[in-house]
Symmetry: C2
Subunit: 122 residues, 2 copies
Amino acid sequence: MQRDTRQRRAIRRVFMDCGRPLTPEQILQAGQDIVPSLGLATVYRTVKAFALEGWLVEVELPGGTLRYEIAERPHHHHFLCRSCDQAFDIPQCPETVEDIAPEGFEVDGHEIILFGRCVACA
Amino acid sequence: MQRDTRQRRAIRRVFMDCGRPLTPEQILQAGQDIVPSLGLATVYRTVKAFALEGWLVEVELPGGTLRYEIAERPHHHHFLCRSCDQAFDIPQCPETVEDIAPEGFEVDGHEIILFGRCVACA
DNA sequence: ATATGTGCAAACTCTTTGCATGGAG
DNA sequence: CTCCATGCAAAGAGTTTGCACATAT
């Protein structure tokens, strides 16, 4: 991750303009509007490298495909639209959510996913 | 799903004895203790058929592999152990969790996943 | 000038499907 | 005896890797 290439700038731009978790395929589509020759393998390699660096994090939502989003955002959760399959950020968090763990289980993190229809699809 | 075969009885038994979400590979391992000739394709076909019938439901937790569990259980959530990668049921649910959705989003379901170490690994 | 990054295509892994055989009814 | 279900192996889908060429530094 030493060089600043057109492809990497394009992928960074896509995430900064978008602010939602994205699948590799979605990144490819948006990235090709900036660098048409962009290849899927480069997308996979680049998001993995960004995740290793800590600039992106993996977000695993139902649907089978791993999504990525910018890491340095406040704690938040996700909404997955059943109609358009887009993921959205939810800035809030119910503080007490980790209290439901059974006795003896050590909790070090949590994920909340809401399902339904987004504003555009509702 | 008309015939009651050794393989189907074995897979049903595995779920009833286990009471946790299982991956196809875990089902295969446990099922082969009952029917050694059991094949992975049969596991995939059978859990899909059980899910269609409504006896099983798909559970999608981080890790990439779809898991399955018995459907007719009260609403609950899941704990995923970072050490042994086993999934556990959490019988409780914070009632207010769907309130965090932004304005205009129609929520029709939710999933909560806690991460950490299970009783056995803690 | 040098070595990292890219794009293509082949390799891999996980899941699904086709087909001949086995077994439930 | 019939036809559904199984097991194997091949085919698909999504992701990763090897290699020669392009390009940032």
